[in-house]
Symmetry: C2
Subunit: 87 residues, 2 copies
């Protein structure tokens, strides 16, 4: 839980998640979308991976990143308790 909120607490990482909504991407393709060095993006991807928000799959010399939306369900559950609050 902690790690998920941490992973989401960064605009770059949230942007990456949104980009992956459209299509799976290699680390290199993701890097091209930002004015941030490769190693920095790699670090962001690592955090997203730790939070299980993305999955990495090696394909030849590329590594494809894709969304793993199952963790979103868990987070949503946490938020839902606030939605059902009686006023």
């Amino acid at each position: 839980m902690n790690i998920v909120f941490k992973a989401l607490n960064d605009p770059t990482r949230r942007k990456i998640l949104e980009m992956l909504l459209n299509k799976d991407m290699t680390a290199g393709e993701i890097v091209e979308e930002f004015n941030i060095s490769g190693p920095s993006i790699s670090h962001h991807l690592d955090l997203l991976k730790q939070a299980k928000l993305v999955v990495a799959e090696k394909e030849g010399q590329f590594i494809y990143y894709s969304l793993n939306t199952t963790v979103v369900d868990e987070i949503m559950k946490w938020f839902l308790q606030f939605k059902s609050k009686k006023k």
Copy 2:
């Protein structure tokens, strides 16, 4: 948006939100629930206030904190785009 994710990225602050689900509380009452100094809790409350996740209302010498769940709707919307992802 940024400030909301930031506010949520701390176990103490999330715990405070959960506590406020049950009842409105004064800063002092909240402090009693943690092994953290008053000023530190005050700072956490300030962040939650900035994110508009809580509302503070002065009542005599006390300040009552209560949930403001409308921001939750906005966050939920952000998460929903990932729920509707086709596989």
